[in-house]
């Protein structure tokens, strides 16, 4: 669907060239919610903006459903943009127009027949749950409501792609949840591909299917969200994950009893909600004492991690571990003495 190949972009600031994108390649599948995460200045916005050419890449290819965006002439580019919606951190609503007027703007640009506009506007406002605010001005709305207008406007021309640049970063946690839920709902119902830029792992965890981690203009890691949550490889991913409220073992507080190893288990997808631990106890006779654990709800899967202390005979412990390994759970012995 979206194929980004070797995209390079340099900014000239004060005579010095700043390479914001250093050869980025990504493949985004139709219908998925793809996250782009990274620390401030990593180049996330710059990358996102090359997709609809709000920013021109220096070199590289950006294919959107077959057409190379970088080769389009102005008029073709404008037509393409009508099929690529975009939402922004600061909403960017026209203060001179009402909520309806803002949605109508997109339709006017999209050259909808005048008489069809009111009906489509009403439809879009209903979709985002703002029908009762049709005649309000943006200055009379809360942040969450403004973003809903932004979403209604971005989707009015029935785009196949929605680009989101920190769309929830100016919102409080509860409003963020509701906007993310709306985006997920739209993705599921309309099958629209969403490319979402954020610096919050929580956002990625909540709605993204796959994610790319950007570090100083390079993709340092990409893959399924649950894989990166379970085994973050890059420093950025680890750092960003560390900001999430997360229970994990604290090395100093581990019980260190001879013959009772401490092990951490990582569950993914289908295994997180199966009674693997209790089966291991029953079939092997080992005792398993849970020290800490967490289960994350990701779209389409659950991942979890558990830190436990095993006790019993050598054979019982070995049997329990091999049973648990056989259930596709990654195990890591943290302490054994």
């Amino acid at each position: 669907m979206i194929e980004i190949k070797n995209v390079v972009k340099t900014f000239n600031s004060g005579g010095k060239g700043l390479e914001a994108l250093k050869g980025i390649s990504l493949h985004i599948k139709p219908g998925e919610i793809f996250g782009i995460i990274g620390l401030s200045g990593a180049g996330k916005s710059t990358l996102l903006r090359t997709i609809n050419r709000l920013g021109e890449p220096d070199s590289g290819e950006i294919r959107l459903g077959g057409t190379d965006v970088t080769k389009l002439a102005p008029v073709e580019l404008r037509n393409l943009r009508k099929k690529v919606g975009m939402i922004f951190q600061h909403f960017n609503l026209l203060s001179s127009r009402t909520v309806s007027g803002n949605v109508a703007f997109a339709l006017e640009v999209g050259k909808w027949p005048k008489r069809d506009i009111p009906r489509r506007v009403a439809e879009m406002l209903e979709l985002v749950g703002l029908s009762d605010k049709a005649d309000s001005y943006p200055s009379e709305l809360s942040g969450g409501q403004k973003q809903r207008v932004g979403i209604a406007r971005a989707l009015a021309n029935k785009p196949s792609v929605l680009l989101s640049d920190e769309a929830t970063s100016a919102l409080d946690p509860k409003t963020t949840q509701s906007i993310l839920a709306l985006l997920e709902d739209i993705n599921r119902k309309m099958g629209i591909t969403v490319v979402l830029v954020t610096h919050e792992m929580g956002v990625i965890r909540q709605i993204c299917h796959r994610v790319a981690v950007l570090e100083a203009g390079r993709v340092v890691e990409q893959g399924r969200v649950r894989d990166i949550f379970m085994k973050p490889r890059s420093r950025t991913a680890r750092e960003l994950l560390s900001h999430l409220p997360r229970m994990s073992y604290d090395a100093d507080k581990l019980p260190k009893e001879p013959g009772k190893p401490v092990v951490s288990f990582s569950f993914n997808g289908g295994t997180a909600d199966q009674p693997i631990i209790s089966r291991a106890i029953k079939t092997t006779g080992a005792e398993i004492n849970i020290l800490s654990g967490e289960i994350d709800n990701l779209p389409a899967s659950k991942v979890g991690s558990l830190t436990v202390q095993l006790s019993g005979t050598q054979e019982e412990i070995a049997g329990a571990l091999s049973y648990i390994r056989s259930q596709n759970v990654e195990t890591e012995v943290i302490w054994n003495g």
Binding site: F88, S95, S96, P138
Partner: protein
């Protein structure tokens, strides 16, 4: 002090002349200055139709016109007035230099008002596939409307001031009246009355401009 009805009779015609000059000068200054201001905004660095050459030429023209003292400009433009109106004296003739003096001012007013519009709005419009024309007339101008109204108010008030000067060199109107009676004949009451009429005019225009600006901002 002359009797009041005499004074009113004396003031009536010049007041109408001033209004006539101000109205048409503003109109023509806007017709010239408004597009100029828009071209300045869109062609400047980072504008939606960035064009360094066009911007620098127009920017220079505006600066040169604005640095002319009005009286000099009026004399310089005598030939143009004669060409357009057929004469260089009278209210109609002074509309030519007034409009040309005020046009660059209008251009700057429009330029600074449109520059105030949040760039994010332009970006959002571009992301939706808007053409430059749509961005100008559906985003920049409507979003800048309150500032445009206040700026135009300032333009009208400036033109009132200039029109009084124009009056002094044969342009008619309240300025002409004040000079003829107050300066040449020492009839201070006429001078004061003319000044009061101008003050009232300015106050009313500023009040109306403020009210209108408030109405168009949301």
């Amino acid at each position: 002090m002359g009797d009041l009805t005499g004074l009113v009779g004396l003031l009536a015609a010049p007041t109408l002349e001033t209004l006539y000059m101000v109205f048409f000068s503003t109109l023509f200054a806007t017709v010239l200055g408004f597009p100029l201001g828009i071209i300045l905004v869109v062609t400047e660095k980072g504008g939606i139709l960035e064009n360094e050459y066009v911007y620098r030429v127009l920017d220079g023209v505006v600066n040169v016109l604005r640095s002319f003292p009005f009286i000099i400009l009026m004399i310089v433009l005598f030939p143009l007035s004669r060409l357009v109106v057929g004469t260089t004296i009278g209210t109609t003739a002074s509309i030519v230099p007034l409009a040309i003096a005020a046009a660059p001012f209008v251009a700057r007013v429009v330029e600074s008002a449109l520059k105030e519009v949040d760039h994010g709005l332009v970006e959002a419009a571009v992301s939706m596939g808007s053409s430059p024309k749509e961005i100008i007339f559906k985003v920049l101008v409507p979003e800048a409307l309150p500032s445009l109204v206040l700026g135009q108010t300032l333009t009208v008030i400036n033109i009132i001031g200039y029109s009084a000067m124009a009056g002094a060199i044969g342009g008619g109107g309240l300025g002409d009246l004040a000079v003829r009676y107050g300066f040449h004949r020492f009839q201070t009451d006429v001078l004061i009355a003319a000044v009061i009429v101008i003050i009232v005019m300015v106050q009313m225009i500023q009040g109306a401009g403020n009210a209108l600006a408030r109405r168009v901002s949301h």
